[in-house]
Symmetry: C2
């Protein structure tokens, strides 16, 4: 077990990483807690929840991305006000990225902000979304368009939860891990060295801490996403989000992987990334998703990227492109060029398969 400190200007966040973290730290959460979890976690860990958090009220949201909306948020607030949750209470987010994002937003708004502890239960949320204080819901077809920056006082990252995680969910987490590989030379080396054992639990536990350490450093420098440092964490996400909104059926982590694959193509075609390095990242991606979808209507799907909140003018699209080991680079492309390159990548995939 190890503690990683994220010293954001607004609050110092402590991330407890490793086996045994839940058993040690969850019981220390003050008694007046309000637990937010989802139907999957509640079914698997109902007994653990009641034995750990005793009589604390538990709000269960339906599992899945579609719960990340304002109607669910309002139901959470109804329960919080009915339970008489006060300024001194602690919200506990026990679940994956959706639970973490909506519970974080609820905690940040309730009485203008009460304490929140994140206990991520999926690989994706452990490795990325539970750390750094970004909270959000989707609205009117725009992902994460309503939210806050609000640091959890504590994040408890225990690999115990990964044992019950479906393989697909592990793939999603590996999507974000490979993203960190494209940003951080050390993580890249670790991934290349372990490329035949990416799904191994002991490996995942150790690389998770590496990714959190990378993210904690970036967020400490640029909590509010202003200087550009934090923007690098969106590698793969511009195209990933666009596909996610257009095709819907896969989950966020898978779309990040697919988005990274397409953006590698764009980076290479734009002369930002060497073929050999791009190939090595592509081969990592293919260890996780065997067959990258060659979307027939990739061009239309990519158009959705112009609605991404990171793109201020709607005539151009910005992506964070892998450049070389340990370095990424922002490229801004005219919308037509971006969509054409996405379509080219899809065609190249068809030829390849």
């Amino acid at each position: 077990m190890q503690d990683i400190i994220l010293s954001a200007p607004s609050l110092k966040s402590v991330i407890r990483c490793g086996a045994g973290a839940f058993q040690k730290y969850a019981p220390q959460i003050p008694e007046n807690a309000f637990i937010i979890t989802d139907s999957n976690v509640s079914a698997l860990y109902g007994d653990l929840i009641s034995s750990t958090f005793k009589s604390a009220p538990v709000f269960v949201i339906p599992a899945g991305e579609r719960s990340k909306n304002y109607k669910v948020l309002i139901k959470i607030f109804e329960k919080m006000t009915e339970c008489g949750i006060t300024r001194k209470s602690t919200v506990v987010a026990l679940g994956g990225g959706v639970v973490g994002d909506i519970a974080g937003l609820a905690a940040s708004l309730y009485m203008r902000g009460i304490n929140i502890v994140q206990i991520p239960t999926t690989l994706l949320s452990q490795v990325d979304s539970s750390v750094g204080g970004k909270t959000a819901i989707d609205f009117n077809g725009v992902k994460n368009v309503l939210g806050t920056f609000y640091q959890p006082s504590e994040v408890i990252v225990d690999p115990m939860f990964l044992k019950t995680l479906p393989a697909r969910e592990v793939r999603c987490g590996l999507g974000e891990i490979i993203k960190y590989g494209a940003l951080d030379g050390g993580i890249y080396n670790t991934l290349i060295k372990n490329q035949d054992g990416l799904f191994d639990l002991a490996f995942l536990e150790s690389v998770t801490a590496d990714c959190i350490r990378h993210k904690a450093k970036v967020v400490s420098e640029d909590e509010k996403d202003l200087s550009g440092a934090r923007k690098t964490l969106n590698l793969g996400h511009t195209t990933g989000h666009a596909f996610e909104l257009y095709y819907k059926r896969k989950s966020h982590g898978e779309f990040v992987l697919i988005g990274t694959y397409y953006e590698l193509y764009i980076a290479q075609q734009s002369g930002v990334c060497e073929k050999a390095y791009a190939d090595s990242l592509r081969s990592l991606i293919k260890k996780v998703i065997k067959k990258i979808p060659a979307y027939a209507d990739a061009e239309q799907a990519a158009c959705v990227a112009k609605f991404d909140k990171k793109n201020d003018r709607q005539t151009s699209v910005s992506i964070v492109a892998p450049a070389e080991k340990g370095r990424s680079e922002e490229i801004v492309l005219p919308l037509e060029k971006y969509t054409r390159l996405v379509a080219d990548c899809a065609r190249a995939l068809v030829e390849e398969q």
Copy 2:
């Protein structure tokens, strides 16, 4: 005209005070603005809005406290997403406290926070609510229970708008001004000196700047309401809010005045405040509201105070009591004692009238 600087840890806010501030600074707001106003302001200043903000989208909420709810907030977000508002846009809150509170919340949540300029049009919002970055909506019968701390980059306080303000709205603003008189020795002296000309526009313009200066200092020291400094600004509000929720018919500023009147009684009975000083504040209050209501069911109404978000345990009530010129003091009373004193004050008012 004068600038007052509020140096909050999260953002430096500039408050432009005085006649001519609107004409000088409103046209400098960047073009990609999104205007939020209410039906009263829109009816009175529709031409000024369109000549100043040109083609910027304008969202008009129904005037009145009842608009401060999540349904109106969602409608604002619908319009913002439909208009393609981006991270670089500026929300302009043109109106009273309700507009400022809900527009501030909308700006703080949209894309995790975009720029907001407050242009308060009522005395109450000029003197108090537009400054300091507290945003909120009411929910499930609890006032201001959902909100954020989010500083406007600029506040434009122009007395021009007071010319069309109904006398009742001026009374409401004087409610907050007298509150500042109970906190700040300088403002107290000014009020006593001008007690026969409280409604005079030139006087209001000058005392407004004094109140803003006081508030800017307090908020710079305690932006997030943690150290106790900012809590002093709730003088009169515990009882005022309780009455507001129970009786509903008057408006916020009137209830603050009435709350201050009742809390002066409590402060005196608790030995915190001398009779002569309490009398001088009471006489100021009576210059604004001739007849303080002697509520027959004041005891039940006061019970609502236990739900106030400032009261962590629901068995006691905290009030900020005027103590002596330039000094207030927090007193925490058991719920029964608090409600009994409120009822005693109501009875004393009956005897007096």
